[in-house]
Symmetry: D2
Subunit: 347 residues, 4 copies
């Protein structure tokens, strides 16, 4: 019923935790958290070392390492603190900010060949919340906008248009991921258990993967100063639309994954000695055509962005939806995070 | 290097074995065969009860049960013995014979929702061999054609165009599946290990599935009277072309699987309350359009068949290839034998 | 409001007219008919010699000449008169009859490279009327079926589902094309006036073309014995459905036109020295794929035909609609009867 | 063999001519030019009043009127003269300049519903020549770049990769359109003669259209100072590539034409009372998806532009080609400048 964005990189999550700068820092920060986490019906006590889960942790770690290897792409000076911060935590205040997000997303798609969903969702949710809390405050004299500016942790927010009777679900709040009462069920993905089998021929993209959890809340307390929506149902669908507007353009990351797949397809054709066969050669061309289209619609949507009243820039929603539509067409490539083997011979 | 068709239903495979009439008979016939069979690196001693393998056995069993439930579709009087035989073992001697194969294939696709590949391959290979051995005998004064008419078991045959230097591989022969020296490696399929996990929510088409094996021959003896090609390399590609001509039209079975998928998609839409939404309603229409096209091209290829010199009818090769091409487009539906779950939420 | 099928080849249209056997006979039969015919706002007194109209007359003439050059394809023994008649006038009484119609249609498409619409419409309307009048007679004790069996000339029939208030339009009748009160407005087609210009570079398919007329009835008398529906509105939509069922499978003629276009495209590629370029070579392959699909769905629909109560065979309606749908996709080839030139250079 | 860009709006074309500011000025400037112009084999003495030619003149006139109605879109301060000039004559010196070209092109597509090809070609050729002449001068110590900066009139340039033996054709030069020895043959377009017929129902986009001429040079003199390439064959293909890079992104104009077509299609659906039918409603959605994709790829290509050594910005060539490819897919809409009627009824 609620969409949850996990943004564990925020500072100040716990007094005990040290500053996260590298991917290795991030991975270390996940140890000993005592999360209530389940996978395939079993409690997972050490997710960091779990062979199915670790690749998705590696993908997030890559977003930190990028800030070190490509600071011009992944670091930006915050207009609020004047300090260099990771672009995933940055509020877009120009067309160029949004276009730069796209370039960073493509680069990370190239580096990981998978989805690093949690960080894009966090970035897009942060920007969406900033706009929408500004609107709520204006309408209801609340102070959500200022509260939001203070920090972000795990954020809970509605994911659909709510009616008046859904008032209880019109809640947005932030809280530490290990808060008492939260349980995580790690979602299974197609062929994910290949990592548990003997041998590594079938493990696909062994080092990186995406992850999604179902998060269950049972008597969880969020202090009032970390609440950013509380019953203002008329803003719920606006928040979803604002978030999806950002996020459907964020699918530019898939053009980075596409770069990997196109390269892999080309190498496979080479290995099989058929790279000059016309109907083979045409495939990476067609893939590239779609891949650059995804990238272009993302860039164009960012380029056509306009400032909202909050100052935060919002990209073009029509083109963002066109971008997302093109991404759905990559399923023609059988684009999945860790595709299983297909040994079937068709005559 | 060689394509192997396993046709365990032939009579006379072993003096000890009793006549197979029902699906249950067939399943029983597979017990205690002491095949050398591996799956995921482990020796499987009782494939009949193995949770991953059993569904593919069930699919073959359905081909026997159909002969009982729909005898007008699946039984036919053999022109050689004047006895009623399963249509999968029948030599096509008319346009109607070939069209009836298509109708039986669609029905079985509907009943199992999967591939019962081994039996179609056996049927098509049998017909192809009959034509080609006739040709070899005419060219080389061999007696392969008569030998072939005697019986079929596991059949080994070349799967590609061979050159003069490939003479040693230009071999076609039949032998019992449990012949000493043969080892089978059961191919893994996407998400096949879901059947090994707890719960049944993710097991997909739990009762039926396809299977494919890699078959390894090590010092295997085939007596001369069960050899149907031996070094006549110039007939190897002809055999492949003849087989694929039959087989690419046999993909009509996928229209039966399509019927299941279209029904499932429609029911899922109903359950979600969106069956009248225009862009949802359009999907089963589009699927049906492709599905009936597959069926039609198969039927038309059979209808356009012509007798070969052996008397066996061969369907239209151009249209058979068009049929196969349309089948490849069903991957747009994510048509796989036992599709894994996809819980990914896309915004 | 009404669909009109002109079937001028029927015997007995006028005592004065002689039997039509050849295409030349047919063309001669059209002279001096004193039809009230308009084109581009002007009265046309001699349509036979009009440069825009003549190619469409030539296309019909080809249907007579085919009966002489390919009698096994275009002639058939009438089950009613036991005499050889043109297949376009034949009532289908078997699956093979319907499949043979498709083969004749493809051949004529190849020979003319255009639509000879009037004759297919006549053939399909004749078969549809036979079934439906049988039904009306059974329901209303009329004698339409017997009356229909006597002869066909120009036939008027409803083209849509009619309601009770549309009773006056639920009329089917036959009458000579030159009956007093009928006026024809010759429809213009894309680029049709190229034939009137100097030079012949742009005249496209100069010898053959299709035609369509709007036919206006003003106080036209049809004797009762030539009426086959008169107010039975509940049969109007049935007639349309029955006719379209036949006719959407009759679009197989387009695969004959497709053969011409594919050949032309290939020759043009040869002339330009690009026939081996991969993205050029792929085009006729893709065209052929669609073309054989059209043919196959037509054949399969005919093959799946079933006898109606009237004895007339009716083909599979689902597959007939699939056939028509595939035909609509030929517009990707810019398939038009007489395509105009396109000199536009695109960089 | 040569591509000719007619850019009649340049200042200084003739001492006699007055400054062109409005569309009406432009139309007047075309009178009494005594061009040697042919259409359908006949000499045209007054093209301005010719019913087939005038609509294409109106389309160019619209490019002048836009500078008055939307100066922020169509006027720009020249970095060379510091005066306001029409954007079609402007050299792009930033990413934004190129993106603004796209926005102007879409607007003009919306206003005219057709191609105003000559002005885009002029704009793109001007920018391409500026880059390439800079390169030639650097390589050969010529002074083409400075000469080019002086003025543009009708420009002749190569349109393909040239070899050493094609040296005589490696020529770029500018000259007044009425120079002695030049003859123009006005190209015919599909259904263009509808404008000559009685009535206006079939005249399509009556007020605007595109045009293309074949231009024949017979003993034409171009003074040396108006020559910008003379035998430097190695730069010919570079010029073509540079021009097509600009121009394939200029096809963004088609998204403006698309806006008109989508609107027209929607209105037609309304008039026919079928605008809520699902398979009708889906068409403008699909058209919009393609239309916004065209726009987006154009904008993204402009956004990704980089400065050349000449200072002139060159857009991303990969994305420009993707843009053009998407434009070719609009032929699915039967997008033609003045589509003829299609009265054919398909059952």
């Amino acid at each position: 019923m609620s969409q949850t964005t996990i943004e564990p990189s925020a500072t100040g999550q716990s007094e005990k935790r040290t500053r996260i700068e590298t991917g290795a820092d991030y991975i270390d920060s996940l140890r000993d958290r005592e999360l209530v986490l389940y996978y395939l019906g079993e409690r997972i006590t050490d997710p960091v070392e779990h062979p199915v889960i670790r690749p998705s942790i590696n993908a997030i770690a890559a977003t930190y390492d990028l800030a070190i290897s490509n600071p011009e792409l992944a670091l930006v000076t915050s207009p609020f603190t004047q300090r260099l911060i990771n672009r995933f935590l940055h509020i877009a205040t120009s067309q160029d900010d949004l276009a730069q997000q796209n370039k960073m997303q493509r680069k990370l798609g190239q580096l990981t060949g998978t989805c690093f969903l949690q960080r894009c969702v966090g970035m897009d949710a942060l920007n969406a919340l900033l706009s929408v809390t500004y609107g709520i405050d204006a309408a209801h004299s609340t102070a959500y906008h200022d509260q939001l500016n203070e920090f972000i942790r795990l954020t809970v927010m509605p994911t659909m248009c709510l009616g008046v009777t859904d008032k209880d679900f019109a809640i947005v709040g932030a809280l530490p991921v290990e808060t008492s009462g939260i349980a995580y069920i790690y979602g299974s993905q197609s062929c994910d258990t290949r990592s548990l089998e003997r041998g590594d021929l079938d493990s696909g993209n062994a080092h990186y993967s995406g992850q999604e959890d179902m998060v269950i809340f049972k008597d969880v307390f969020i202090p009032r100063e970390r609440i950013f929506m509380h019953g203002e149902v008329e803003f719920a669908s606006l928040l979803v639309e604002c978030f999806t507007c950002y996020h459907r353009r964020s699918y530019v990351c898939k053009s980075g994954v596409g770069d990997v797949l196109i390269g892999a397809a080309t190498i496979i054709a080479n290995y099989n000695g058929v790279s000059k066969v016309s109907h083979i050669r045409e495939k990476p061309v067609e893939m590239t055509h779609l891949n650059e289209t995804i990238y272009s619609t993302g860039i164009a949507s960012s380029h056509q962005s306009r400032p909202t009243q909050s100052g935060c820039y919002l990209n073009d929603d029509m083109i963002a939806n066109v971008c997302k539509h093109h991404v759905t067409r990559t399923h023609l490539w059988n684009l999945s995070p860790r595709p299983g083997p297909c040994r079937r011979t068709h005559w």
